[in-house]
Assembly symmetry: C2
Homo-oligomer: 494 residues x 2
């Protein structure tokens, strides 16, 4: 692909392209704190759109929001053995609660942690909240009447990551974490799968990202889970991005925090648990799925600005054009996230460029000739220009935005489907995944050791065991030579 | 007042009453982390209602949301001298980024901060974000065209408080903090005052809390501000609650972080700043302003459940009654936050009690005789029972909720106004404020030393210098004997 408007193209350098799209879209910036980023207004507004639409879905499925402490006593983390194993290496620890002033030998002043303020027990800045939440559930759950308990939390979490990448991996990130408690194992599994379905539907209908729903292999499970469900998306470089997970936690956390309930027969039983979450990583998924060599492309349902109106005028027709632009703005304002760009100190071309970089799905240009024709000149961010009648503009804009939303999903799905491959031998796999990254669907028969060996040789991992499982009877696993057990997707991933 | 339904009354023990109202309303719970509380679903939902309605107001006044890191390098805090002074004593400090396992002498295992993971520079968990935000503003602001910059953040903050009280004071709390940058001093002052107006209007129209808007005295200003504006509410014990503040920060943070802009004449100037915030403390204000000796009372605009429908039936008429209740529920569902309490295992009386404790403004009981009459039996949480026609119930419910909202504001205003006092001598003040807590409006003429002396003797502080300032010409300050300079409110406060 040709270099376009000074942006590195995807084919030239995919990683550089991703960083440039983010910088030009003013989505995120580096911060002076290692591994932490700043979500700029245009980036944060995507998160707000995600939040509202996901939150509606959580509430429609019976969940309520709550808020639990940021800090977790260090000893809590150790109560579930696998859990502490999973998070100990990236735990940010609060050890003091006061600063004191001091004077340096050169006479300048500074502050330092006050040694008199050391905490009795260090606090972990939450990497996830199972432990503190299950401690609280122990106080709230007593009888079968208290179940199910269906709670979600919108929060920041911290995992001290050494390698970071904007939106995909950082020391602090924003997410939601659902934590539910149930009377039976079957009900908890049903909940975990239901929330995976919510994520799948949301990814497709709101983010326009087709995803593969499935289960993780034992090796890739969440620390403390009996089963981890996942949705896997494909980026334009053929790499997978884990975009949301839902865990069936069995009775592990109930056991660790001694959470029991009295069943209808009057006996005490341990409670069953799930947890599930998505994060600001979804913004990275949106950027990488839809953007092109001209920069950011956003699906209308999460675009902070869905429509921008750019009046194009000379001094002589300024009043007419601005009048019509304002009228159009007022008409669209209640129904869409719309901007009227009437800045006087920028040329139209510069405005077009800026809004393009910000991924605005629909631009409406309005010049005096357009006004005379009773039209705006419409340009879709996904390509295509046409006259749009000012009369009844609202309904027409609504149709165009819906069409763009559908077009993006279709395009992403066609692209994804074109990159799902099969192989008939380990040799073919090792060679092909280098030149043709994508999802490799195989009738898998291996174990954890086989997964490790494959990752070491190819950097590919088992992304998921898809929910849909046609029969593998009589098949042999091409990657291990063992009898096939179930279908699995392998891919390189972020 | 008589003891009611087992709740401590306000007159018996105001503090105990407050804690019981919160516990029975299931708003908040203690956590295992010192000074940190858990916002339970019914409490968090009040915060969600506050957030949405405030956020709409911020956006309508041109602000955008963003998100800045939780952690602030220790050295940043010291860059503004007064600021570090204000926050050093309650700073939670992250010093390590990893846990390691160890074995105790008795053979048991544990985890501890890994000494190999000590951070080069400790990080402060944000107590407020001026420093990190102004560091970023230095990267984003270059020209007058970049101004004003109007950003808000919804976030958690941590201030290591030794004395905590639910909602009013805790180590971690949720809030919003606006941070704006301007080309001129006048514009920044205008912004700070505008946001105080937004808070004032919001407190009255949404929370039904009448507030006194004013300026803080030099002694009570935010650490680093040239002027702090405040809204002060009065609780039912006559104590003041500072409910929101807006600061004119001058060029202090621009100077500390070297943030300049090129003005239209081509010269570089330091940028002018404001910041403003409200927190989950507002939930405490709502509880203490409106609740009564029967428990929680919530204004309809922030009530998580505005209307509860309780069907009252016997086995014989169950179908008829539940059918009518469901029909009513469907009719109200799109317009209100409504619950249908059709639990089979609770008697109607127990349900009434539960929803009363949760502060639901309007209860609609529906029995077979009501259904036959085409009515529900309505009970307002603020008192008053009447038949409500099922035909056109939506419009009628809307009217009733508006009336309750107005009634609560009126009642709170009348109460507040009845507790504004004047005094003509320091002796009278010292005596009266003990027996009659409230707002004392005086033509003040003192200084910081006088404020300290008054606080030491009476525990009362200068709450604000009200925005409305009639002339004090010729008056003498009754508290100091000095010539009056401006009107001031004194009160005891949380």
């Amino acid at each position: 692909m040709a270099r376009s408007k000074g942006l590195t193209t995807r084919s030239e350098d995919y990683s550089a392209w991703y960083l440039e799209v983010i910088a030009r879209g003013q989505l995120l910036d580096d911060s002076p704190v290692r591994g932490c980023k700043v979500l700029r207004p245009h980036g944060y507004a995507i998160w707000e759109a995600i939040q509202r639409q996901l939150d509606d879905r959580f509430k429609a499925t019976g969940h309520e929001n709550a808020y639990f402490p940021l800090f977790i006593p260090m000893s809590f983390l150790s109560k579930e053995a696998e859990h502490v194993e999973g998070f100990a290496k990236e735990a940010a620890l609060v050890t003091h609660h006061r600063l004191r002033a001091f004077t340096r030998p050169d006479g300048t002043k500074g502050v330092e942690p006050d040694p008199e303020s050391v905490l009795e027990e260090p606090l972990v800045v939450r990497p996830t909240s199972e432990t503190i939440i299950w401690h609280m559930y122990g106080r709230w759950i007593d009888s079968w009447r208290d179940l199910p308990l269906l709670i979600n939390q919108w929060a920041n979490v911290v995992r001290w990551e050494m390698k970071t990448r904007p939106f995909l991996r950082s020391a602090e990130f924003l997410w939601q974490e659902g934590h539910t408690a149930h009377a039976t194992s079957a009900e908890a599994v049903e909940e975990a799968v239901k929330m995976l379905d919510v994520y799948t539907e949301f990814a497709e209908n709101v983010l326009a990202i087709p995803v593969l729903p499935g289960r993780k292999s034992a090796r890739e499970r969440f620390a403390g889970a009996l089963e981890t469900y996942t949705i896997e998306a494909m980026m334009q470089n053929g790499w997978a991005l884990q975009s949301g997970t839902s865990h069936f936690l069995g009775q592990n956390f109930a056991r660790a925090f001694d959470v029991t309930f009295q069943n209808e027969a009057g006996e005490r039983e341990l409670v069953w648990a799930t947890s599930w979450g998505v994060s600001t990583r979804l913004i990275g998924a949106v950027i990488m799925t839809h953007s092109d060599d001209d920069g950011l492309v956003l699906p209308p349902r999460v675009a902070p600005v869905q429509v921008v109106i750019v009046p194009v005028y000379k001094e002589a027709d300024k009043e007419t054009v601005l009048g019509a632009a304002n009228k159009l703005f007022r008409e669209l304002k209640g129904r869409f996230r719309v901007k009227l760009d009437d800045r006087d100190n920028l040329r139209p071309g510069a405005k077009f460029f800026e809004w393009e970089q910000k991924g605005v799905p629909l631009r409406l240009e309005l010049g005096s000739r357009d006004v005379a024709k009773g039209q705006a000149f419409a340009a879709k961010r996904t390509g295509g220009k046409f006259g749009l009648d000012l009369e009844g503009a609202g309904d027409r804009v609504s149709e165009v935005l819906d069409a763009i939303q559908a077009e993006l999903l279709e395009r992403a799905r066609a692209y994804r489907d074109s990159m799902i491959y099969s192989v008939d031998s380990r040799e073919a796999f090792d060679e092909k995944i280098n030149s043709q990254p994508g999802f490799y669907l195989v009738p898998w028969g291996g174990d954890t050791a086989d997964e490790v060996a494959i990752q070491e040789a190819t950097r590919a991992t088992l992304r998921c065991l898809p929910m849909e499982q046609p029969s593998v009877e009589g098949l042999t696993c091409p990657l291990t030579g063992k009898p096939s057990v179930e279908w699995a997707y392998f891919a390189r991933s972020y």
